[in-house]
Amino acid sequence: MEELNIAPQTQSEPVPGAAFEPAIVAFVCNWCTYTAADLAGTSRMVQSPNVRLVRMMCTGMVDPKYIIKALLGGADAVLISGCHPGDCHYINGNYKARRRVKLLMEILPRFGIDGRRIKLTWVGASEGNEFAATVNRFAAEIKELGPIDTRRLPLL
C-alpha cells in the first residue's frame, strides 16, 4: 500500500489588504445533511461560498485523519454534520462520529489547532434552513478566527 500523503501542502499566500475568505470542508452524511443541503439549494437559501461539501454515507465513516488531512491540506475549518441523535440511517453511526470528534477536539489544540475550527452539528433531511444557517454562522466564525497557519504548527 502506498504511503498516504498527510504532509502539509503549500498554502496560498495571503494577499495583503484582501478580506480573508476561509476555505471550509464539510463532511456530511448522505441521508440527512447532504439532503438538507439539496433542500437549501432547491429553496435558494443563499449561503457563504466558502464551504465545500464532501459526501459521506454516514458521519460514522469520517475517519479523524480525514479531518486532519483537510486541515493540513488547505482547509481553515472542518464541519462534520449528520443526522440527529436517534435518527441515524445506520442506527448509531452519528454517535460514533460524536465520540471521535470529541477526542479529536482534545488532541488537536495540543498541536496548535484551535478547537473552534472543528464543528459537529446535526442537520436533518428536512432542515434546509438550518443547514444554510449553520454554514453561514460557521463561515462567519472562521472569518473572525482568521486563517489557519499549518506551517507554523509545532511538532509538524
Partner: protein
C-alpha cells in the same frame, strides 16, 4: 496506465449557467491531471447529453467520467447507467453538485464559478482512485408485509393480493377500517363512509392471499430489501375466532360499561365489545382492563351465555415471525387532543366537540343513532365550527391538515339537512382550502344553503355572558378580519376541527423500520415530489397519512402507489444490491476486533483460524463505522475509501493549473 477522464459540465438551462460560467469550468477542468476531454452542454441529463458521454467513452477510450451538474441524489443513477451503456463500469464515475450547492446558493458569479471549479477539481482527483465494482443480485421474497389496516393499508393489501402475491396485513386494533369507519358521510359527494369502506373490508377478509392479523403489532424488523423478517406480537382477544359466529349475545349480557374509544368518549361500550357490527373480523374482543372476570376473577357472564363456547380466558400474547420481501407502512394518524388549547374549552364545556366526536354524533350506528343532539337531547339551534384547531398554528402544528375545511363544509350541510334550514351554522376560518375534484363546487353549494362564514381564528369560547340573549349559550369570541371588528357569536354547540398529527408512537415505529421522520413528525419520503411513497430504506414504502395529512382519495391513491412500488420489486423477484460495502484487508488486519463491537448490524465476524475480522457482505450496509475507527486502516468502505477521500480533498485545494489544451465545447 494513467486514467483518461472525461469531464462534463452541465448548464441546466440557466439554472447553473445563470451564475456559473460552465464553459469556463470546463476549460479549467481540461487543464487538470489525466483529463482527456472536458465539455459543457445545455442539459447533460438529456439524451443528447448522455449520448455525448457514451460516444466519448467509445471513441476516445475514456476510463473515468466526471459530471458536474445537479445533486447526485437526483441524477447519479442516470449517468451511471449512461457509463454502463458506453461500456464503462458505473463506479468509475463521479458526480459533483454545482447546482443545489453552488449556482443556486452563491450570489456572486465569480465566487460561484470559483467554487464550481474547485468542486470539479475535487471530483476529477477522486475519480482517479475509483475502482470497478459489481452489484450483487439478491432474490426478493414474494410476500409483502402491510402495516396498518386503515383505508390506505386495505387498499395496498388488496392491490398486492390481487396480483397474486401473498400479503401479511398487520393491524393494531381489533378491526380493520381505521378512522374511515368512524365517519358517517364523506365529502364532497356525501356518500356514506360505511357503504364504501365495508365492501373493501369484507374483500380483505375474503381474499385468500391476505393473511389478516388483528390485535397485532410489528415489534422487530431484521434483514434488508428483499429479505425482511418481521416479528409480530399478537395480543389476546380472549375469544376463539374460529368458533365465534359474531351473534353479539355476549355483548348484550356483559354487565360492565365503560366509555368507548371508538365513539371518541361520547358513547359507552361493554367490556366485551366490537366497534360496529360491520367490523372485520366481526369477532368481539374482551378488554382486559375493564373485564370483571379478568380483573377480579369472577363474572364470566359472556362465557355462560355464549352459544358456541367461543370465550377463552386462557389466551395469551403470542409472537410470530413472518418473512417478506418488501414492507408497506400505512400506520395512519392521530387526532390532536384539543384540551391543550384551553381557550376553546374542550373538556370544560360539555357542548364543545372534536370533529371526530361530531362524526360519531352524525353516524347512524353512533351513540345518538345519527341524530345531531346536545347532551340534553335537544337539537342545537346554532353551531359554531372552528377551523384550524392546532393546524396552521405555530404553537402546535405549522402545517395545514388539508381535510378540515372540507369536512367542516360537510358538517355545515349535514346540520342544515338534519336539523333544518333554521339552524344557524357559523364557520370561523382562516382560509378556505377547497382544492380537490368537486370541492370548490361543494363550497359554493354550502354557501348557497345559507351557512355563515366568518374569517378569523376565535380567541376563545366562553360561557361568560354579556346579556340576556347570550344566557345559557356558549359564546365564540373572534375578530372578523374582513370587517375588521370583533364579533361575539352565541351558539348551542361548538365543533373543533382538530389537526391530524403523527401517531404518538411514530418515533418508535420509525426506529423499528429504520426510516426517518420529517420535521412535522410524519414519516419522511425519499423525495417530496419524485419519491413520495418510497423511503430512504430500500424496500420500505409509505401509504396514506403516515406520510402527511391526506383526505381519503389522496390516501387511497398514495396507497396504490406504495403497493405498486412494492409489487414492482416483488414481481421482478430480484434486486441488485449496492457493492459499496466495507471490506477488511486480511493482509493488514491485526485482529483487534474493535470493528466487531462497533458494527450496528453484526456484520463482522472474527475468523479464529486466520486471526482477522471478516465482513459478511450480505449484512453490511456500508455505513463505515468500522472504517472510521479501524486502527490499522484495514477496514475500508468500497467507493468511500481513504485514498478516494484523500484524493478528493487534495483536488479541492489544488492550486489552479494553466490550461494545457483547448477545450472541446459543444454548447450552442
Amino acid at each position: 496506465m494513467p486514467s483518461r477522464i472525461g469531464v462534463y459540465v452541465c448548464h441546466c438551462g440557466t439554472n447553473i449557467a445563470g451564475r456559473v460560467d460552465s464553459a469556463g469550468v470546463a476549460r479549467h477542468a481540461a487543464g487538470l491531471k489525466n483529463v482527456a476531454v472536458a465539455r459543457d452542454y445545455k442539459f447533460m441529463c438529456s439524451d443528447p447529453g448522455q449520448d455525448m458521454i457514451i460516444k466519448d467513452i467509445r471513441e476516445m477510450g475514456l476510463t473515468r467520467v466526471v459530471v458536474a451538474s445537479c445533486s447526485p441524489r437526483l441524477h447519479e443513477k442516470t449517468f451511471q447507467k449512461a457509463c454502463q451503456r458506453g461500456g464503462l463500469n458505473p463506479f468509475l464515475f463521479q458526480m459533483t453538485c454545482i447546482r443545489e450547492h453552488c449556482s443556486w446558493v452563491v450570489v456572486d458569479p465569480a465566487e460561484a464559478t470559483a467554487k464550481a471549479k474547485s468542486l470539479v477539481a475535487g471530483a476529477v482527483s477522486r475519480v482517479n482512485e475509483h475502482e470497478e465494482l459489481y452489484s450483487r443480485v439478491e432474490a426478493v421474497h414474494p410476500d409483502v408485509l402491510v402495516v396498518g389496516g386503515g383505508i390506505a393499508g386495505i387498499q395496498a393489501a388488496l392491490d398486492i393480493a390481487r396480483s397474486g402475491h401473498k400479503v401479511h396485513l398487520v393491524e393494531r386494533g381489533p378491526s380493520i377500517g381505521g378512522h374511515m369507519t368512524q365517519f358517517d358521510k364523506t365529502f364532497p359527494t356525501l356518500d356514506c363512509a360505511a357503504c364504501i369502506s365495508t365492501p373493501k373490508m369484507v374483500a380483505v377478509s375474503q381474499e385468500p392471499n391476505i393473511n389478516l392479523m388483528t390485535m397485532s403489532e410489528v415489534v422487530e424488523v431484521k434483514g434488508y430489501v428483499g429479505n425482511y423478517t418481521a416479528r409480530i406480537r399478537t395480543r389476546p382477544r380472549y375469544i376463539d375466532q374460529n368458533r365465534c359466529t359474531g351473534c353479539g349475545l355476549c355483548m348484550e349480557k356483559c354487565p360492565k360499561s365503560v366509555p368507548s374509544e371508538f365513539e371518541e368518549g361520547i358513547g359507552q361500550r361493554k367490556a366485551i365489545h366490537r366497534n360496529s357490527p360491520q367490523s372485520v373480523p366481526n369477532t368481539p374482543i374482551i378488554d382486559p382492563a375493564s373485564c370483571i372476570y379478568l380483573v377480579k376473577g369472577k363474572c364470566g357472564s359472556c362465557q355462560k351465555n355464549c352459544p358456541s363456547q367461543a370465550i377463552d380466558f386462557t389466551q395469551e400474547e403470542s409472537y410470530l415471525d413472518v418473512r417478506a420481501g418488501t414492507i408497506v407502512l400505512a400506520t395512519g394518524f392521530d387526532i390532536l387532543d384539543p384540551t391543550a388549547l384551553s381557550q376553546y374549552g374542550f373538556g370544560r364545556y360539555p357542548e364543545v366537540y372534536t370533529g371526530l366526536q361530531f362524526e360519531r354524533l352524525n353516524n347512524a350506528v353512533g351513540p345518538t343513532g345519527g341524530k345531531i343532539v346536545m347532551k340534553n337531547g335537544q337539537a342545537p339551534e346554532s353551531v359554531a365550527i372552528v377551523h384550524c384547531v392546532g393546524s396552521r398554528d405555530k404553537n402546535h402544528h405549522e402545517y395545514c391538515s388539508r381535510v378540515c375545511c372540507m369536512y367542516a363544509l360537510k358538517y355545515d350541510h349535514l346540520i342544515k339537512d338534519k336539523i333544518g334550514h333554521h339552524a344557524r351554522v357559523y364557520n370561523f376560518y382562516i382560509d378556505m382550502r377547497c382544492f380537490g375534484k368537486g370541492y370548490e363546487e361543494f363550497y359554493r353549494r354550502v354557501q348557497d344553503e345559507g351557512v355563515i362564514f366568518i374569517r378569523g381564528r376565535p380567541s376563545e369560547v366562553t360561557d361568560q355572558t354579556q346579556g340576556p340573549e347570550e344566557a345559557g349559550k356558549l359564546i365564540v369570541v373572534a375578530e372578523d378580519t374582513l370587517l375588521g371588528r370583533p364579533v361575539r357569536v352565541a351558539v348551542d354547540m361548538v365543533v373543533l376541527c382538530t389537526a391530524m398529527q403523527p401517531r404518538s408512537n411514530a418515533a418508535e415505529v420509525a426506529r423499528i423500520f429504520g426510516i426517518s421522520q420529517g420535521q412535522d413528525g410524519f414519516f419522511l419520503e425519499e423525495h417530496p415530489k419524485l419519491g413520495p411513497v418510497s423511503t430512504a430504506t430500500d424496500g420500505i414504502f409509505l401509504a396514506g397519512t403516515c406520510q402527511g395529512p391526506k383526505d381519503i382519495p389522496d390516501a387511497v391513491a398514495h396507497a396504490s402507489g406504495g403497493a405498486g412500488q412494492a409489487l414492482s420489486l416483488a414481481a421482478r423477484g430480484e434486486v441488485s444490491i449496492s457493492p459499496t460495502v466495507s471490506w477488511i484487508n486480511p493482509d493488514i488486519c491485526i485482529g483487534c476486533k474493535m470493528c466487531v463491537g462497533l458494527c450496528a448490524y453484526s456484520a463482522i465476524e472474527y475468523d479464529e483460524r486466520r486471526r482477522v475480522c471478516v465482513i459478511n457482505e450480505a449484512m453490511c450496509k456500508g455505513c463505515g463505522s468500522c472504517a472510521g475507527h479501524c486502527p490499522s486502516g484495514a477496514a475500508q468502505v468500497r467507493h468511500f475509501n481513504e485514498k478516494q477521500v484523500f484524493a478528493e480533498l487534495e483536488g479541492l485545494f489544488a492550486p489552479a493549473q494553466p490550461v494545457r489544451q483547448p477545450v472541446a465545447s459543444s454548447a450552442t
